[in-house]
C-alpha cells in the first residue's frame, strides 16, 4: 500500500509536469508568433473590425503622411504616383496584394485592437466613429524616392529588377527599403505587369546567392579561426583545381601574389575558395550562423525570409570552396545582407531591424515607443575592426571604388553572384557597405537582378549606394532626427 501511494504521488507529479509544459509552450508560442498569427490576412476578426473602425494614419520619420483614410473610408496614399510607388512595398496596399506590409502586419494597431477600455467607453458616449492608432515609421520616404530615381537614372540599372535597404547600424532603424519593379497602389490595373511580379517584396521576401559579399563572412571566419593567415601571402594563378572542377575568377583575371587584405580588395575567388577549404565547412557554417544564416528570423516589425547556408555534412571540397565566395546554395535577402554589413560597421554587434518608431493614439498620446535592441554579438570587436579596414580598402582601391564619395569614409564589399533560372544563367550585382562615421551610422545593401554580361556589382550596384551616401551627406537631418 505504501509503495502504491508513492507511485500515485509520482504519477501526479508527472501530470503536473505535463500541465506546466502546456502553460509554458502556450505562453511562449503566443508571445513569439501571436502577432504573425493575428495579422494574417486570413484572420476574419480583422475583416470584421475594418467595417467598424477607421484605420489610423501612417507617417514617415520626418512627419510626411504616407497613408490616411478619407471621409468615405477609402485608404488614401501620398498625392503623387512617384511618391506612392517608392514606399508601396513597405506600406502594403489596401487590397492586400503585398504580404506583410505595414498595412497588414500592423493591423492590430491600425484598426484599434490595442485601444484601452476607457477609449472604447468614451467612444460610446461621444458617438464618434472609432479610429485606429497612428503609426510613425523609421523610414525617410524621400530617400526611398531617391533610390528609385537612381535605379532609373543609371543606364546599367534602368528597368532592372532589384532591391535596396538602408539602415542605421547603431539602432537598427530602417531608413529606406525599395523593391523594383514597383507599382502605384492607387492605379494597380494600369501599372502592373503581373509577369514581373511587382507585388513581391524583393528586399525581404526573396533570397539570392550573396556572391562575393559573402566574403565578409569567410574573411571573418578566417580571421577568427586561422589568425596567422592574415600575415601570409597567397598566390592566385587564376585557376584553382578542387575535386576535378576548376574555379575561375570574375573576368578570368589572374591576381598573382597577395595577402588577405588585397585578396578581399580585388575580390579574388581562388584565394577565398582556398580559405574556405582550409577553414572546413563546419567552421565556415558556424561563422555564417553567427551572422544569422539558418536563423528563424522573428523580428518584431518585419517578416524576413530566412537565409540559408547548406546544412548537410560531407560536402565536397569544390562545394565548400564555392561557399567561400557565396555560391553553392547559399542564399540571403537584401535585408539580411544589409544587417551583415551593419554588423561590421557596429564593431560586430548586429541590431534587430526595426520599422516602427512610435504608435500614437488618435488623440496624439504615445501608445508605445520602443528602444532599439541588439540581435546578437556576431564577432569580437577586434576582428570587426580588421574587417572595417578591409572594407574601407575595397572602396578606396578595390572593386567598390564607385561607391566612394569625398564627403564620407565609405566601406563596403561588392559581389557578382551567378545563378541559373530555368536553365538560363543569370547574374546578380551586389553592393553592401556602410559609412564609417559615428554621426551618420548608415549601412546599405543594393541588389540588381539580371545584370548585363561583363558587368558586376561594382559597376551596377555600387553607384546607387554612392548616391544614397551622397543624399545622406547632403541631408543628414533627415535620417538622424
Amino acid at each position: 500500500m505504501k509503495r502504491q501511494r508513492k507511485l500515485f504521488k509520482l504519477l501526479a507529479i508527472l501530470f503536473f509536469g505535463l500541465f506546466l509544459i502546456l502553460t509554458l509552450y502556450g505562453g511562449y508560442s503566443v508571445a513569439t508568433y501571436g502577432n504573425r498569427w493575428f495579422s494574417s490576412s486570413k484572420n476574419p476578426r480583422v475583416r470584421a473590425q475594418k467595417e467598424m473602425v477607421i484605420a489610423g494614419d501612417i507617417y514617415d520619420r520626418n512627419g510626411i503622411q504616407l497613408a490616411t483614410t478619407d471621409e468615405l473610408g477609402n485608404r488614401v496614399y501620398q498625392p503623387t504616383a512617384k511618391a506612392r510607388r517608392a514606399v508601396v512595398h513597405i506600406l502594403g496596399d489596401a487590397q492586400g496584394n503585398i504580404a506583410n506590409g505595414v498595412e497588414s502586419f500592423q493591423t492590430a494597431y491600425l484598426y484599434g485592437f490595442h485601444s484601452s477600455f476607457g477609449e472604447l467607453l468614451s467612444g460610446l458616449f461621444t458617438g464618434e466613429a472609432r479610429r485606429g492608432d497612428n503609426l510613425y515609421l523609421t523610414i525617410d520616404s524621400l530617400l526611398c524616392q531617391k533610390i528609385v530615381e537612381s535605379f532609373e537614372n543609371h543606364s546599367l540599372t534602368n528597368g532592372k529588377h532589384g532591391a535596396a535597404v538602408v539602415m542605421n547600424y547603431l539602432t537598427g532603424e530602417i531608413l529606406a527599403q525599395v523593391s523594383l519593379p514597383t507599382f502605384d497602389p492607387q492605379n494597380i490595373s494600369g501599372t502592373v505587369n503581373k509577369n514581373e511580379q511587382p507585388f513581391w517584396n524583393r528586399a525581404t521576401q526573396s533570397v539570392y546567392p550573396p556572391g562575393s559579399t559573402f566574403k565578409i563572412v569567410t574573411a571573418s571566419a578566417a580571421l577568427k579561426y586561422l589568425p596567422e593567415l592574415a600575415e601570409e601571402e597567397f598566390e592566385c594563378t587564376g585557376e584553382l583545381q578542387l575535386d576535378g572542377h576548376t574555379i575561375h575568377d570574375f573576368g578570368n583575371s589572374v591576381h598573382g601574389l597577395m595577402d588577405l587584405k588585397d585578396a578581399f580588395g580585388v575580390s579574388c575567388n581562388n584565394i577565398f575558395a582556398f580559405l574556405a577549404v582550409e577553414l572546413t565547412d563546419a567552421r565556415l557554417k558556424q561563422m555564417a550562423e553567427s551572422f544569422g544564416f539558418n536563423d528563424n528570423f522573428l523580428f518584431r516589425d518585419l517578416v524576413v525570409e530566412n537565409s540559408r547556408y547548406p546544412a548537410q555534412a560531407g560536402r565536397s571540397d569544390y562545394e565548400v570552396g564555392a561557399s567561400g565566395f557565396g555560391q553553392s546554395s547559399i542564399a540571403a535577402s537584401p535585408m539580411h545582407m544589409c544587417m551583415v554589413a551593419a554588423a561590421i560597421g557596429a564593431d560586430g554587434v548586429m541590431q534587430e531591424p526595426v520599422l516602427l518608431r512610435e504608435v500614437r493614439t488618435p488623440s496624439g498620446a504615445t501608445r508605445v515607443k520602443w528602444e532599439s535592441r541588439s540581435y546578437r554579438q556576431v564577432m569580437d570587436t577586434d576582428v570587426a575592426r580588421v574587417l572595417q579596414n578591409y572594407m574601407r580598402y575595397v572602396v578606396t582601391s578595390g572593386t567598390g571604388s564607385r561607391a566612394g564619395t569625398r564627403s564620407m569614409a565609405i566601406c563596403g564589399k561588392t559581389g557578382t553572384a551567378e545563378s541559373t533560372i530555368i536553365g538560363k544563367p543569370v547574374n546578380y550585382g551586389w553592393f553592401v557597405g556602410y559609412a564609417d562615421d559615428i554621426s551618420l551610422p548608415i549601412a546599405v545593401s543594393i541588389l540588381v537582378e539580371d545584370i548585363d554580361d561583363g558587368q558586376g556589382g561594382g559597376s551596377t550596384a555600387a553607384p546607387i549606394a554612392r548616391e544614397v551616401f551622397q543624399y545622406i551627406a547632403e541631408h543628414p537631418e533627415r535620417v538622424t532626427n
Binding site: 500500500m1 509503495r3 502504491q4 501511494r5 507511485l7 500515485f8 504521488k9 504519477l11 501526479a12 501530470f15 503536473f16 505535463l18 500541465f19 509544459i21 502546456l22 502553460t23 509552450y25 502556450g26 505562453g27 508560442s29 503566443v30 508568433y33 501571436g34 502577432n35 498569427w37 493575428f38 494574417s40 486570413k42 484572420n43 476574419p44 476578426r45 470584421a48 485592437f113
Partner: protein, 422 residues
Amino acid sequence: MGIPKHKKITMESTRMREKRKPGERLAVLVMLFYFTAFLLLAFRNSTWQGYALTFCVPAAIWGGTHILGKCFHIDTLLFSLTNFLCALGILVLYGTNPNLAYHQAAYYGVGLVGMVICIYFMRVFRSLRHLRILMIIGSVAFLALPLLIGRETNGAKNWIYFQSVSIQPSEFVKISLILVVAWFMNRRQFLPWFLCAVGCLILLMLQKDLGTALLYYVVTLLLFFASTANVPLTMLGILGGGGAAVLGYRMFAHVKKRVALWRNPWSDYENAGYQIVQGLMALASGSLLGVGLGLGSPTTIPVYETDYIFAVICEQFGLIFGVCVLLIYVAIIWRGTTIAMASRHGYQGLVSMGATMMIGLQTFVIIGGVIKLIPLTGVTMPFVSSGGSSLVSSMCLTGLIQGVASLNEDDLEEDLKLTEAM
C-alpha cells in the same frame, strides 16, 4: 507518534469539516462568478432562457454542493471545481450558440445523476468478483456497436445513433474499463487485464478513433505501473506504444496528414489546416486579458464547441484565464490523487487514480492539440466541451473518485468511533 502521515492529513480535514467545508466557500465564489456572467449575457441576448440560466446555474451549484454533501461524504472541493468547469462550458456555449448551452445544461443534470450512480456503485459493489464478466462482455459489445450500426463522421466511426440521440460508446466504456482494469491489477491477474485492454484498443483502432485509443492505452499502462512498480515492463509498454504510433503513421494516410498539418498548418490553410490556423488566431487575438465574454469571432473555428472550446475560452477570457483553467484541472488531479492515496483498499485507490489520470490525460491531449504542442486528436475537453457523452462520462469519472472519497470518510469515522470507544 504512530499515526501514518496520510491518516493525519485526513484527520485534520475531518476536523476542518466540522468547522466549515472549504469546498462550500469556493462554491459561493463560483456561484457569484456565474451569476454575473450569465446575467451579462442574458441582458445582451434578452431571452427568458438566459435569465433562467442566470438563476438555475448558481442554484444548481449551491443545491448540488449542499444536498450531495449531506447525503454522502463527498469531497466538496473537488465537486466545486468540476462544477466550475461544467458551468464554464455552459457559459461559453451560451455566448456563442445558445441552443447548445440549453442542451449542455440538461446534460449536466444527467451527468449529476450519472455521478450519483457511480458513487453508489463504488459504495455498493466493493468487489467486482461477480460483475466482472458481465462488465467486460457489456463493454466490448457496446464498444463494437459503432462498427456495426454507426456512421462515419470526420474520418472516425465512433458514434451510434438512435433517432435524434447520438452516443459515443467509447466515452462510457472508459468508466467500466477503469473499474475492470483496477480490479484485475489489484489482484495481479495480468492475463485478463491484458486481453481486456488489447480488445478495447483493437476495437478503437478499427473505428479509427486514435485519440481515445491513446487515452485508453496510456491510462491502462500507467495503472499497471502504479500497481506493480515494474519499470522495465512499463518502459517496454511505452516503447511499444511509440512503435505502434510510428506504424500507424506509416500505415494510415490520415495520420500522416494530421502530423503534417501539426508541423505546418499554414501549408494547407484553405482546407485541412483551416481549423488549426483559426484556433491559433483565436488564441492570439485573445492575448493576455481576452476580448470579453460573448465577443470576438471564435465561431469561425470549425467545431469550436467541442475540440476547440479551449481556444474560445482563451479568445474571450484571455491567456491568463486559460492558465487558470489549466490550474483547475491541476487541482482536480491533486484532489483525485489525495483521495487515491488516502484509500485503504488497493482496488479503490487504483480506481480513483485511474479516473484522475483519464481526466488529466484527456485534457492534456486536447489542449496540447489546440496550442499545437502535439498533433491534434479529436478528443473532448472534460466537463467543458459541448456534448452529452463527454460531459456525462466526465461526471461519472468524478463520481468514481467521489465514491472512493466517501468510502475513505466512512473508514475514518469508523476509526474515530473505535478510538472514542477505547
